[in-house]
């Protein structure tokens, strides 16, 4: 999932002076966007559009990759073989989603290694949600239900993003993401229906801990969103953070009822006049703290990624050396 962080990078200034030719190219580009057209990798695009997309798509890719870590914590401790195979399939999907997205970002002219280096140095962000710990088995279910549920809400509009390679990657991802949400709800539902009182309490506790961070996944309120207006103009972001958040809350309230858990917000209630649920204030200071690097697991997550990359270096080098040796041998033959 997970594209919230696009709103957290510093605002870049656009060049004031442009050549006449560039202005004409940009006019044509804008017209294409206005017609609802798609931009392909080799088409002319404004430098700022390119940068915005590299940042957003790579942050999205990093989130998929880092998102494997909280779930991996439970692979060896899944309660049954069935749940274990489901979890493994889901984690493999996250790796796949990361790869689709890195490929899309690379079409914009940034190499895979550069993208990874930005993650490993802490320069690039990933979704703040993965800096929370998975304390019990119920957390794995709640991640599917709430975190992947919020992700789907965020991602469906991206299948219509103006940058075609990103939109195509998102179509594929959205198709697979639905399994993630449903398996999570199913795991929780089994605990609520057939579980012990302790297991039901576990589901409630996990829901309480993940609710607010899930709402933060939609990014800062529209008024504070740094890139919102420009991204909307360019057809990168089709629906605003606040609208998506509201849609998610409205959908989730009903699901919580079916599951039999409460959501940890005393202000949450249906507002007939608005046709939506009202909800309590979100603690944005927590959001900014976690995005800034000081969440419960930031260091652990990044440390795990850097270690995996460094430990794998000899494998990557060996595979490449082998390939070159084979190629040379073939030429000589």
């Amino acid at each position: 999932m997970y594209t919230q962080a696009m709103d957290t990078a510093p605002k870049e200034e656009r060049k004031a002076v442009r050549s006449l030719e560039e202005a004409e190219l940009e006019r044509r580009f804008d017209a294409k966007i206005d017609e609802g057209g798609f931009i392909e990798a080799k088409d002319w695009m404004p430098e700022h559009y390119r940068k915005t997309l590299v940042r957003q798509i790579s942050q999205h890719a990093h989130s998929e990759i880092v998102g494997m870590l909280p779930e991996a914590n439970w692979v060896t401790r899944a309660p049954t073989l069935k749940r274990k195979t489901i979890l493994l399939a889901k984690i493999q999907d996250e790796a796949g989603h990361g790869l689709y997205l890195y490929s899309a970002a690379e079409t914009l002219g940034t190499s895979r290694d550069e993208l990874l280096a930005a993650l490993h140095s802490g320069k690039a962000k990933y979704s703040s949600i993965f800096n929370y710990p998975t304390l019990t088995w119920a957390d794995v279910g709640v991640i599917g239900w709430l975190v992947d549920g919020a992700a789907i809400m965020n991602q469906v509009p991206l299948t219509r993003c103006s940058y075609a390679p990103y939109a195509r990657a998102m179509v594929r991802i959205c198709r697979e993401e639905s399994f993630h949400q449903r398996q999570g709800f199913d795991a929780l539902n089994v605990m609520m229906r057939e579980g012990t009182p302790e297991q039901r309490a576990m589901v409630q506790d996990a829901t309480n801990r993940w609710w607010w961070p899930s709402l933060m996944m939609f990014g800062p309120p529209d008024g504070e969103s740094v890139h919102g207006a420009q991204s909307a103009r360019w057809g990168i972001k089709r629906i605003s953070n606040d609208d998506l958040r509201q849609k998610f809350i409205d959908a989730t309230v009903e699901q919580a009822k079916v599951l039999g858990v409460s959501l940890p917000d005393p202000d949450l209630k249906w507002n007939e006049a608005r046709g939506h649920h009202d909800f309590g204030p979100i603690d944005w200071s927590e959001f900014w703290r976690v995005v800034g690097g000081d969440g419960p697991c930031n260091r652990e997550r990044l440390g795990a990624r850097v270690k995996a990359w460094d430990d794998g270096a000899w494998v990557r080098e060996a595979a490449l050396a082998h390939a070159r040796k084979q190629a040379t041998a073939k030429e000589a033959a």
Binding site: K42, Q92, R112, D113, A117, R316, H322, A327
Partner: protein, 99 residues
């Protein structure tokens, strides 16, 4: 190894998948792999986790020659006024119109 040294990066491959027997292979994405056998193996893991295909082609991205998007108008517009290349251009007597 420096992290930005792209000579150490595995080459890029384009992946084409045949969804089922009887259909064409269709481009579905790209991936990095050190050589062709690994590219095929990784393509299977990345692009056919749910039986999306029954055959895979991988091609080094550097081996693909593509038309220039800047030449799009010059290249493709000349076909615009050749309506006589389509069967619908010909108005035939009703009795034989379904030939």
């Amino acid at each position: 190894m420096s992290r930005n040294d792209t000579t150490q990066e595995w080459p890029l491959w384009e992946v084409f998948v045949r969804p089922k027997a009887g259909l064409d292979h269709k481009h579905c994405g790209s991936l990095h792999a050190p050589d062709a056998p690994m590219a095929l193996q990784l393509a299977r893991e990345v692009y056919t986790r749910r039986q999306e295909g029954c055959s895979i082609w991988v091609v080094p991205s550097s081996q693909i020659t593509a038309s220039d998007p800047g030449d799009k108008d010059m290249y493709f517009d000349p076909m615009e006024d050749k309506v006589y290349r389509h069967p619908t251009f010909y108005v035939l007597p009703e009795a034989v119109d379904h030939m």
